[in-house]
């Protein structure tokens, strides 16, 4: 009985993670993208909390609160501020249209299930069954990074990638050691802040945050 709520909670959190990523790829509105990212952060925190409660690990529950604060609130807030500041509304020129993006998503999801097989054979259970979701998020992050040209979209892609890695970490081993977790969280926060400043400067310099304008340096 006690495992069944665990199974369901993990499944639910993983489902929300996957769903928010699909919404991210589907919608071109940047405001909607940032909102989806915030929901995704909350779902990731919930996932960590569920694992922490199930394993009776107070440290993991504390980390869940950190994840909630960072990925559920702080990072989306920074992104939203940046979006409002440069008055960015939509991703105007994605390299893939919506249909092709969704098709690519389904292919990437299948790929994720394929490469996750070692986990399923190594330690079968509800957490390893959800690992493909984490890998999917990593691949979606790559898709967004390679096909979206708006600076904010690129930031979103980077954060989806990071969420995917965190998902895999928590599902496979209950998270990396605390000092590494803290260092990695700080690094991600600083990278996002730096990219935010660069976005503002690029907008000021080029008149838009469309990265297709960044084409001066090449051989």
């Amino acid at each position: 009985m006690s495992t069944s709520w665990f199974d369901q909670a993990i499944g639910l959190a993983a489902g929300v993670l996957l769903l928010t990523s699909v919404l991210l790829v589907w919608k071109r509105s940047l405001a909607a993208a940032v909102r989806s990212l915030a929901v995704q952060g909350v779902a990731l925190a919930a996932l960590v909390a569920v694992i922490g409660i199930y394993e009776g690990d107070p440290q993991l529950v504390a980390i869940a609160l950190l994840v909630l604060a960072l990925k559920g609130f702080l990072l989306p807030w920074v992104l939203d501020r940046s979006r409002v500041r440069i008055a960015a509304v939509r991703e105007e020129t994605p390299l893939l249209n919506t249909t092709a993006s969704l098709l690519a998503l389904s292919l990437l999801t299948m790929l994720a299930y394929l490469v996750s097989r070692p986990f399923l054979t190594l330690a079968p259970g509800p957490t390893s069954a959800a690992v493909p979701v984490g890998i999917s998020l990593v691949l979606y992050g790559f898709l967004i990074l390679t096909t979206r040209r708006h600076a904010i979209s690129q930031l979103v892609g980077f954060l989806v990638l990071d969420n995917g890695i965190a998902t895999v970490a928590f599902l496979t081993s209950g998270g990396v050691p605390l000092v590494v977790e803290l260092g990695a969280s700080l690094d991600v926060l600083l990278v996002v802040l730096i990219l935010r400043v660069l976005t503002s400067r690029i907008t000021a310099e080029f008149g838009a945050a469309d990265l297709d304008d960044l084409m001066e340096l090449r051989d």
């Binding site: 690094d187 960044l214 340096l217």
Partner: protein, 479 residues
């Protein structure tokens, strides 16, 4: 002993905080030089301690073996060359406090990377180098430098994130083996029963990620942009030692993965990346139009050679790779410092815009030629010996075919670099000035010391030879 280990980290942090808080001209000018000198002193002292048989540690996370001590000394030596050589002549403009603060933090992050025993902490430190250098690359605030900074931060952090995924999977493998750890010494010494299929994915991802940061092809596209747009001393630091620190991370990962899987996987990945890097560098150096981009592509070449040395494996190849790290770091940072002076005096880094430098500006041209001779691997410079040793080791360990192709590509690069350098220094000057200007536009001592050291260590290595052999054995002992 723990004091020596913590010294470079504490000094860099304290100087960075002081510079940011006080912003006095003196601190803004010398914070970087002081940090680099501390790192070098600490590295040399730790090397001596390691040669005496000690293994200094500080807490659970920092541990200094021969490899760490050597790399710390390289970070210090290259850092000192770049920061000291990069000092503008007195009376010139003083650097902004942000610049000095970030340089001090950058040196501290690289020191942490080589001192960490924990692969996760190593990762955090490598990511921190991206953070510290982001605004250094974009320091000039021009359109091109913003573009370079954006590409650098996005590609750098995405690449390094992939390495993190690799480390996460490695950690998962240790969890299922019943001994959760990311400690390098535990991973290499305790022969944990790690799941091979998991380690295979983990190792490939970690190497792929750190290779992005090391500028190995095909993940190199950020490198020429970032290195050409950053201020000259920062280019010297990034090219001369940041790439090598990322390569050091690859070596540590390789030493963990090889005993579990055999050398096949890493050898295949590294040999491919190495040859590809040499080919990309050869293609783009030959028809290069910009001096700093040419030097950047030369760095990709040397990273390719290091990757080939790691692919060969064994004590000889690894010791040669480390000697190569030192020689390349000193020569490349000197050349970038000189490129900054060329930009200052000629107003351009376009190769076609720089002519007759030896006649008009011997104070700049002579160090440039000496540095280029070292970089091209002419004897007596140490790069000659390390390159020969890498090729010999490759043949010994069954990579003969790869080495033949590599030597061919290195010769193409040699021709390209030599042709451009000859054109800039000796080519006919359209408007030859009336009098030669011997001023050096900056301190010559660091360049003399760096290039002098490069010339001497190959012939008379002394205790360095023992240190290199021990560092090679630290890695090779694991396989």
């Amino acid at each position: 002993m723990a004091v020596l280990v913590l010294l470079p980290l504490v000094v860099s942090l304290v100087l960075a905080v002081l510079t940011a808080a006080l912003r006095t001209p003196l601190l803004c000018r010398y914070a970087g030089v002081l940090t680099a000198a501390t790192v070098l002193a600490s590295g040399v002292a730790l090397s001596a301690a390691v040669l005496d048989g000690a293994t200094p540690t500080a807490g659970d996370l920092l541990r200094v073996d021969a490899l760490s001590a050597f790399m710390l000394a390289v970070v210090g030596a290259v850092g000192l060359t770049a920061t000291w050589g990069g000092l503008t002549p007195p009376g010139g403009r003083t650097d902004a406090w942000t610049y000095s603060t970030l340089v001090a933090l950058f040196l501290g992050a690289m020191s942490l990377a080589v001192l960490a025993d924990n692969l996760g902490v190593l990762w955090v430190a490598v990511e921190a180098t991206t953070i510290a250098t982001a605004f250094l690359v974009g320091h000039r605030g021009t359109r091109t430098s913003l573009e370079a900074a954006w590409k650098y931060v996005v590609l750098g952090s995405v690449g390094v994130a992939i390495a993190f995924l690799g480390l996460v999977l490695l950690y998962a493998a240790t969890v299922s083996a019943g001994r959760p750890t990311l400690s390098w010494i535990v991973l290499t010494q305790e022969h944990l029963a790690l799941d091979p299929s998991l380690v295979k994915v983990a190792g490939a991802l970690a190497v792929l990620g750190f290779a992005t940061k090391a500028g190995l092809a095909p993940m190199h596209s950020w490198l020429p942009d970032a290195h050409s747009q950053a201020p000259a001393p920062v280019s010297g630091l990034m090219s001369g030692v940041l790439l090598s620190v990322a390569f050091y991370a690859i070596l540590r990962v390789q030493a963990v993965v090889d005993p579990v899987l055999g050398p096949g996987l890493m050898r295949g990945l590294l040999a491919t990346a190495g040859l590809l890097s040499l080919a990309v560098a050869a293609g783009l150096v030959v028809r290069q139009r910009d001096l700093k981009r040419m030097l950047a592509y030369s760095s990709i070449e040397h990273m390719g050679l290091l990757a080939l040395a790691a692919a060969a494996g064994g004590t000889l190849a690894l010791a040669a790779a480390l000697l190569h790290v030192l020689g390349h770091g000193l020569a490349k940072s000197s050349l970038f410092v000189v490129s900054g002076r060329i930009l200052a005096t000629e107003g351009t880094t376009r190769i076609s815009g720089i002519r007759g430098l030896l006649v008009r500006r011997p104070g700049v041209a002579v160090p440039y030629l000496a540095g280029m001779a070292a970089l091209l691997g002419l004897p007596p410079f140490s790069l000659f010996f390390s390159e020969v040793a890498i090729v010999v080791a490759g043949f010994q360990r069954g990579l003969g075919g790869v080495m033949v192709v590599a030597v061919g590509l290195v010769l193409v690069l040699f021709a390209g670099l030599a042709r451009h350098s000859a054109a800039m220094t000796m080519g006919g000057s359209p408007d030859a000035g009336p009098t030669p200007d011997g001023t050096s536009l900056g301190p010559q001592t660091p360049l003399v010391l760096a290039l002098g050291a490069t010339a001497v260590v190959g012939l008379a290595a002394g205790p360095l030879a023992t240190l290199l052999a021990e560092a090679g054995a630290v890695l090779a002992g694991a396989r």
